[in-house]
């Protein structure tokens, strides 16, 4: 964390708090039946999303998964964008066409995932490839769960990125579970980080609940990518403190494990580090929390006011308007 200013450290704290508060509000909306469909939490994993994305710079592009709310916020989308998505509103980034964190545009620095796990990795490799062809100073980053590393798309995408030495940072969030499936049923390897060797790329493992450590590792990987050193595979050790989605009571999770990890809460840890290193006082952090809470409340209000899409929108935007197709046509000779 050598190269972080006090302001930046506080910003990391703020983003993690924002991540958590947005989700807390979403839970309220969910309980009120205002969220359409499922709600996916990242409680306890905020340090990974925030710390990794924070290592990027303007112009870089991420491909988040549904638990990477923190990364989406760091990339500049607003809580309102997220709320309107979850409430399926016309004003949401996807206009109500798709759910939760399924939104993004290259020019906004975010590529929307599809639900099929692993699929983002080849696509992000393609983003990086295009960036290189376009002579852009562009680093790409994406995330994958312990479960997602078992997909063929993960393997094909990362192998291709490695062969091409593309500026792609892949962050494997090892939170112990894939829905109800424990790590040991997902892979026989002791860790995820060892998988980096298969692709001949550097692998690093990090305490995923220590936002500053996460930032450092991610920053090294991003710098390497930017310098032409190719992909890095990072395993972030963290824990899924909630069920797969709100409906899942995670009865299959050992209580002790949850207890143990509750004590490792990334936000509390960040706070105590900041206070211990006297980078901030408890009061300062409290006022950040205060400000975040107020911001988010305003955003919820605005989001709730926003309209549902009009039905006919369902038919729009399957194809580009024909106009966009280049004209130059010579009729076939008879």
């Amino acid at each position: 964390m050598a190269d972080l200013t006090r302001e930046q450290k506080l910003e990391l704290y703020r983003y993690m708090r924002l991540n958590r508060v947005v989700e807390e509000r979403l839970v309220n909306l969910y309980r009120q039946g205002k969220v359409v469909g499922g709600l996916y939490r990242s409680l306890g994993q905020e340090a990974t999303s925030v710390g990794t994305a924070y290592a990027l710079q303007k112009g870089d592009i991420v491909g988040p998964l549904i638990r990477n709310l923190g990364a989406v916020l760091v990339m500049g989308y607003s809580p309102r964008d997220v709320m309107t998505q979850y409430m399926a509103r016309a004003t949401s980034p996807s206009g109500g066409k798709d759910c939760n964190l399924h939104f993004g545009k290259p020019e906004r620095g975010v590529i929307s995932p599809i639900s099929m796990l692993g699929a983002l990795i080849p696509v992000m490799a393609g983003i990086a490839l295009a960036g290189r062809m376009q002579k852009k100073d562009l680093v790409t980053m994406t995330w994958i769960g312990d479960g997602g590393t078992s997909t063929g798309a993960f393997h094909e995408g990362l192998n291709f990125a490695a062969v091409q030495r593309l500026p792609l940072v892949v962050v494997a969030e090892n939170n112990g579970w894939a829905y109800s499936t424990p790590f040991k049923k997902q892979t026989a390897s002791a860790t995820l980080v060892v998988k980096a060797a298969a692709y001949g790329i550097p692998g690093e493992q990090v305490d995923g609940n220590d936002v500053f450590a996460v930032y450092d590792v991610a920053r090294r990987a991003v710098d390497r990518a930017r310098a032409g050193g190719g992909p890095t595979f990072i395993e972030s050790l963290t824990y899924r403190m909630k069920g797969h989605a709100e409906h899942d009571g995670q009865s299959y999770v050992p209580k002790e494990e949850l207890e143990e990890w509750r004590r490792k809460d990334p936000i509390e840890r960040c706070a105590s580090t900041l206070i211990a290193s006297s980078a901030a006082t408890a009061e300062e952090l409290a006022s950040i929390d205060q400000a975040v809470a107020e911001d988010v409340d305003r955003e919820v209000e605005a989001a709730e006011k926003s309209p549902m899409p009009s039905p006919e929108e369902a038919l729009r935007n399957v194809y580009a308007p024909v106009a966009e197709v280049e004209p130059a046509i010579v009729p076939r000779r008879s």
Partner: protein, 341 residues
Amino acid sequence: MSGALHLGGPDPGAPAGKGQTTYVDAIREGIREEMARDERVFLIGEDIGVYGGAFKVTDGLIQEFGEERVIDTPIAETAIVGAAVGAAMMGMRPVAEMQFIDFISCAFDMITNFAAKSRYRTGVGVPLVIRGPSGGGVHGGPFHSQNPEAYFAHTPGLKIVQPATAYDAKGLIKAAIRDDDPVLFFEHKFLYRRIKEELPSEDYIVPIGKATVRRPGRDLSIITYGAMVWTALEAARTLEAEGIDAEIVDLRTLFPMDEETVLESVAKTNKAILLHEATRTGGIGAEIAAVLSERCFEYLDGPLLRVTAPDTPVPYSPPLEEFFLPNSEKVCRAARALAAY
């Protein structure tokens, strides 16, 4: 999609009466009975064990049959189907779950090239069942609402079934497990807990390859399957009040299709509506239209009308999805036009 569902018999809207079995329980019962009667049957998929599956279709089966026969896998549809193909070649009877049927796209090669062609190429049969929740109406968005059955109905070597009732759900899953060829079993998630009926206590199957007439009628035939059978029935009740008597054919098996039952119905009514929830172009409705205009041409007194979802992905937001999905009103509109034709 219609909220209240009626298919004669006890009103499924009513609270589960004693002895009533829901669609989801019927599937589980069918699997349970087959696992009990045939030790070659086993289950493989994601979160199907301790968790009992995302929709609880396999709930309790790991307790009853053990980890050996209810296998939780990594997130790897190609491995799930591939392992099932290999086991099936060895004479086992694997039942593979796709957590949502949308993810079957990740096993497309294994299904269409390995499972479907094995018997033809090498004489080695693949008695495999692949099942999972399909369909919309629950605001699942583009990747948790698809109806991919038509992709597979263009693949010789596969059999495709889609039950509309709890009775058929149990009878067809049992028939699928006993079948010597790969069967894709498409469940409709909207029906899981919305319909129920009393099921016979004795062992039965619903034969693969046989359609059934859900409602006899004189004026026109509605050829459909899956959840849309309920939509058709709802429409038929409305139309009846208007003096239009619709016959409803539930295909049950989409491939190989029971052409005889379809032809018989249309030869009688001389008009047909082809109804499905899947998108329009290249859907099952197209195949039915081809069969009818090829084999039943002389009997047709009107155009064959398709009532389907439009050619778009499945949108997420309720107003969009309602607009997208076929419903009884859309069916009635087509039926009125056709009756007046």
